[in-house]
Symmetry: C2
Subunit: 337 residues, 2 copies
């Protein structure tokens, strides 16, 4: 049985959608035990369940609150209480769709980093025309040094191997040209480090090639990574809106699209981020899954199932061991960061 | 009559598509005179025309060549000869879909910057659900300082006003959260400068909101801007591929899509970057339009027409005057860059 602490107060549609997601997850998997952490009022709506324990917290962190402030002042926040359950050994994972900065800060403060890791990073799985790909860092570290990017590449590779099941994943460095000499100051130096690493590094990868599936691990700083994800969402949404507007003008097109509705449904499922659940925070001492702020019940359910899989594969322990083995090269890199 | 120097050797499909584009532009507009700059062999294919002059260059810059090397060694390259035509006063604009780094370097070297401009920047027009928006910088400057971003905002605003016809355009700073405190080191400091500027600055804008049309000017450094554009292209292409794959599996959907083909065609036209022509390099002493590397004849034609409009509206002169008026605040910013 995997114990998972769920931050009931986190996300744009909390607590209703989060609680619904919890119920769906309990139905979908018999192997989880949920600690639902939230205010008395929020938890009162949830019916009793043999694999659920309610943990009351009097506070919660808002989506736009400054993480450091929240960590310092809100000692009884739901996200903090969730992490304490892991710290005490009751739960083995935290899932939250709330303020991701606060989740990151709380994870660092409560669980700490795996020995040797400089900066934990968020790994997001993207659908592509070939294999799924992992983009790391998706937003935890906005200002990075070259050695941080090298570590992201190590962690992302292990994640792609163990969780996505991809042998010897190709690692690409997100940049603005394919040649190694192209990019900004950070990327040029990271390219030099990656070229000398034992990873399956294929060089720079351009934004256009991410979704063609030309690499299974895409490395970038958290500022660029987060913009990359948000722009992708925006394009997909805008394309859908523009298409809908053109179809609406034309009765034949309306009929045509209704004939194609089964294909459209399959397509939507394939491209919907909610199918892929949350994004793990790699490099902390424990399993932390960060959900999308706009998570609905289905996204929460999938994030919980990802957390279960993560605990069962023991990736955190493996990350620790693997990074330890590579400690020599990491120390060398720290020296030149 | 607007004289335009066209780099016939520039672009992935040069010279054939570039020459075809030239022919289409000559048909579409009676107000242009084209200087076609390329090798003897490339130009021999083009029939004589009363509004065309052929200018022979013995060399050209390849797409992946290092710009500085190309500038130094290839003294008789087509891009260099094109700029010399503007320098000599024969042509008033340069259009090239070739190596954009070399075009940038050549523009700086031959034409120089408008007085007061620290860094010329590429302005790209994006379709959105509302007004079109201009993203600046789209790739000229990969490492920027806060004061550079402030200048990009000034140039982008003037461009949106004069070329896109948008009154008092809203300026957004591309970042990873809407609150002013969010972003990397560069963006946080640029936010402070923009907040004090006379521009219609609406604060940070997230990647997801670009295509919803929440700002008409989107400011970022050239590394982030270029990735943003390439990711957008990639998402649109991948979405189209995935949709096609799902439709192909289902005879009803194939029928449906054939009924909707007129709506699909209008949709494609609306989202196709080739419709928007090239992107101007703002801040140099002259009109320079940088075409997409994958430009076909239609894209080249539109880039030429954009160049004509640019010359006719006298934007370069206006940019010079406008930035001169703002020189006081710019000097202050230079002091704190």
């Amino acid at each position: 049985m995997v114990g998972i602490a769920l931050d009931v107060m986190g996300g744009d549609y909390a607590p209703q959608e989060v609680l619904k997601g919890a119920q769906e997850a309990l139905k979908a998997s018999k192997g989880i035990f949920l600690y639902l952490v939230g205010t008395q009022e929020a938890l009162s709506e949830f019916p009793g369940h043999e694999r659920v324990s309610k943990v009351v917290a009097s506070q919660w962190v808002k989506m736009d609150e400054a993480p450091s402030e929240a960590l310092r002042r809100k000692l009884d926040s739901s996200i903090r209480r969730a992490f304490e359950l892991v710290k005490k050994g009751k739960a083995q994972a935290v899932v939250s769709a709330g303020n991701s900065g606060a989740t990151y800060a709380c994870a660092l403060f409560t669980l700490g980093r795996i020995s040797g890791v400089m900066r934990p990073a968020i790994a997001t799985v993207l659908p592509t025309l070939k294999n799924p790909a992992v983009l790391i860092d998706a937003g935890a570290n906005v200002d990075c040094k070259p050695a941080h990017l090298l570590q992201f590449a190590f962690m992302g590779s292990l994640f792609a191997e163990r969780i996505l099941g991809i042998q010897n994943p190709r690692v690409g460095l997100l940049s603005i040209g394919e040649e190694g000499g192209k990019g900004n100051f950070l990327v040029k130096r990271a390219h030099a480090l990656l070229s000398e690493s034992p990873l399956n590094y294929i060089g720079n990868i351009e934004g256009r090639h991410i979704y063609l599936g030309e690499a299974e691990v895409i490395v970038c700083d958290g500022f660029v990574g987060n913009i990359c994800l948000k722009v992708s969402e925006g394009v997909a949404e805008a394309v859908a809106e523009m298409l809908k507007a053109e179809v609406k003008k034309d009765p034949l097109a309306i009929l045509g699209f209704s004939l194609a509705r089964r294909a459209l449904k399959r397509f939507r499922k394939r491209t919907d981020w909610r199918e892929h659940g949350g994004a793990p925070l790699l490099g902390v001492n424990g399993v932390v899954i960060i959900g999308h702020g706009r998570s609905d019940a289905r996204a929460i359910k999938n994030a919980i199932l990802v957390a279960q899989k993560f605990v069962e594969t023991g990736l955190t322990e493996r990350l620790g061991k693997s990074l330890h083995q590579k400690s020599k090269s990491l120390k060398e890199n720290q020296a030149i960061q």
